[in-house]
């Protein structure tokens, strides 16, 4: 089969950015590889700086990889740039509407650029405004819109020309919970009803869990794990026990104490919190509490949970998602 059997295919992408004088270049992508069938929502999950946005920029023809190949809707992103551009919709991280123009003007201009006739563009603009609940605001300048309204318009702008693949780069960052839920519903409708292939980058585990049919966990410019959220979670055996201490376990006593209990696997310390993988949550919790009480170590809370995406992330990258965000956060600041 030709490469068209996948809506998106990235193979061994490498991209480096100069980091300034006398510093080694930043390796944003380091052999990133994945493939997405048509009609699937792929979530690229990873902390800031993992290489998600760089991947999107290369696939949308905005940027170019140093090496490796990629196809979008069957077209090569370097050799068939114009076909790729016609086939995709791109919703960048930052709002992509012209604030001085009205919602309608933004949409019509976009339609015209993609080759719609004036009449078609106007009709399509009205249709999209209706669908995103923006009809009333359509005649107003975008600078008067709320953040949530602007984001909805951004997605509408990405859909004007009925693309086959939609790129959503951190679509809900900075939105309030209500606007976020709104947008989630909309993305679900798109993939369910219209068979659109969506590539979604996010650093919200919850968002990835809810929207993605398929997940690729990205770390240091590589895909470290791939699969459906359920399959990824199912691969982890047992449950997760989380103990919040009143005082941080500075000298590692608590860690050693719990490590000796039967049925307890790897323990990770994150500030005042200890997380452990256990065979069975129900039997581990009493044992953990008993051991802590015996040594009179004060505890704020103990929770037991089924494996979450956070645990999956921990498993594949060796660090918790939150910790990763804090350490890698600065790296892509210069590259983004």
């Amino acid at each position: 089969m030709p490469s068209t059997s996948h809506a998106l295919e990235a193979s061994d992408l490498v991209k480096t950015y100069p980091a300034g004088r006398k510093k080694p270049p930043v390796r944003a992508l380091d052999g990133l590889t994945f493939a997405v069938p048509e009609g699937v929502v792929l979530g690229l999950l990873g902390p800031n700086g993992a290489g998600k946005s760089t991947t999107v920029k290369i696939l949308t023809t905005l940027s170019r990889a140093d090496s490796g190949t990629a196809t979008v809707a069957g077209f090569d992103v370097v050799k068939q740039q114009n076909d790729v551009r016609q086939a995709i919709g791109y919703v960048p991280q930052k709002s992509s509407s012209d604030p001085m123009a009205t919602g309608v003007e933004n949409l019509v201009l976009s339609g015209r650029i993609y080759g719609l006739s004036r009449q078609e563009a106007v009709r399509r603009a009205a249709e999209l405004l209706e669908r995103f609940d923006l009809t009333e605001a359509g005649g107003r300048q975008v600078r008067t819109y709320s953040g949530g309204m602007q984001r909805k318009l951004d997605v509408a702008l990405g859909l004007v020309h009925r693309p086959r693949v939609l790129f959503l780069d951190e679509p809900t960052t900075g939105l309030d919970p209500e606007a976020r839920a709104d947008l989630w519903n909309e993305v679900e409708r798109l993939s369910d009803n219209e068979g659109l292939t969506v590539l979604l980058t996010t650093h919200y585990l919850e968002e990835a869990d809810r929207l993605a049919d398929q997940l690729a966990i990205v770390d240091h410019g590589q895909v470290v794990a791939e699969g459906t959220p359920e399959a990824l979670k199912a691969e982890l055996r047992g449950d997760s026990v989380q103990v919040e201490l009143v005082d941080a376990d500075v000298d590692g006593n608590v860690r050693r104490l719990l490590g000796h209990l039967p049925g307890i696997g790897e323990i990770v310390v994150d500030g005042n919190t200890l997380r452990a993988r256990v065979d069975r949550g129900a039997t581990a919790v009493p044992a953990v509490l008993g051991a802590l009480e015996e040594k009179a170590i004060p505890v704020t809370a103990v929770t037991v949970s089924r494996p979450s995406l956070d645990d999956v992330y921990l498993q594949y990258t060796g660090r918790s998602f939150r910790a990763a965000e804090n350490t890698v956060g600065q790296v892509e600041g210069s590259a983004a």
């Binding site: 030709p2 068209t4 059997s5 048509e38 920029k57 949308t60 023809t61 905005l62 940027s63 170019r64 809707a73 069957g74 077209f75 068939q80 114009n82 076909d83 551009r85 016609q86 086939a87 995709i88 791109y90 919703v91 960048p92 991280q93 930052k94 709002s95 992509s96 509407s97 012209d98 604030p99 001085m100 123009a101 003007e105 201009l109 976009s110 015209r112 650029i113 993609y114 080759g115 300048q141 951004d154 702008l157 990405g158």
Partner: protein, 274 residues
């Protein structure tokens, strides 16, 4: 799968792409709408030239008496110069629109669409050019109100307008290029102020070059703003030297085309760095 094979045109790599002219039209429309939604900005950029014209026109009234000054009325001499200076100064700001687009995601969305880079550049410059025409007319109105009179007819005014548009377009596209290369408002404004001052004073905008030191005369020969001022004054005079008008006009047109082309190439540099 079936949907793809059923429509082979989609996979053969022949996506329909709009022409440069129609795309330029859409982009021009965008900037014109934005521009005329805030007409106060155009008025604002006129404050400075109006002050120069009225203040200097009065202050240096007497310089025409100096031996070697070719004109008999300073305000008549100064007005075409201030027209070119206004076109230069206003166009220096053109790139700020690109920076605003980059700070939002507008530029990135445009660059991943099928729009041609030439259309993105030309559309903004045409809109910028309409501002230049309006400003040129207003500066002339102020100059004439202050007593400037010209023997040359309609052709003289037309040449002045075209020359000012070329100055605006050339330096507007340079400003856009600097915007694409630096991506910073502060850098753009700093660089343009650094460049616009020598361009203004190493020219015949304020004074007849007969009165200037030799090195200034030499420098002005390579100054596009001076080419425009010379062509305009000649065309407005009673007995124009048309070969001089044509020669300076051609230099200016060639300069505009070259910087326009180079500036459009700056999109590539921008894309390499994102």
């Amino acid at each position: 799968m079936a949907t793809i094979t059923a429509n082979p045109a989609r996979t053969t790599g022949t996506a329909r792409r709009g022409g440069l002219v129609s795309q330029t039209g859409y982009i021009t429309g965008r900037w014109l709408r934005a521009q005329y939604r805030s007409p106060a900005l155009i008025a604002f950029t006129l404050v400075q030239p109006a002050i120069w014209l009225l203040l200097f026109g009065q202050l240096f009234k007497g310089v025409v008496a100096l031996p070697g000054f070719g004109d008999s009325s300073y305000i008549a001499f100064l007005t075409p110069g201030i027209v070119m200076m206004t076109a230069l100064m206003t166009s220096g700001w053109a790139g700020t629109t690109f920076i605003a687009d980059m700070e939002r995601g507008v530029m990135d969305r445009m660059l991943t669409s099928p729009v041609r880079r030439g259309a993105l550049m030309a559309g903004q410059l045409i809109s910028n050019g309409t501002t230049t025409v309006i400003q040129t007319i207003i500066v002339f109105a102020i100059g004439i109100a202050a007593g400037a009179r010209y023997d040359g007819g309609a052709v003289g005014y037309l040449v002045t307008i075209v020359a000012s548009m070329l100055v605006g377009t050339a330096f507007g596209s340079l400003s856009n290029a600097v915007a694409l290369l630096t991506r910073q408002q502060e850098a753009l404004i700093g660089i343009f102020q650094f460049v616009s001052l020598p361009l203004t004073f190493l020219s015949s905008i304020m004074l007849d070059l007969e009165l200037a030191p030799h090195w200034v005369q030499v420098a002005a020969r390579y100054n596009p703003v001076d080419w425009a001022a010379v062509a305009a004054r000649q065309a407005l005079s009673a007995d124009p030297d048309w070969s001089s008008v044509a020669r300076h006009g051609l230099y200016l047109a060639a300069f505009t085309l070259i910087v326009g082309y180079l500036s459009t190439r700056a999109f590539r540099t921008y894309q390499r760095s994102v």
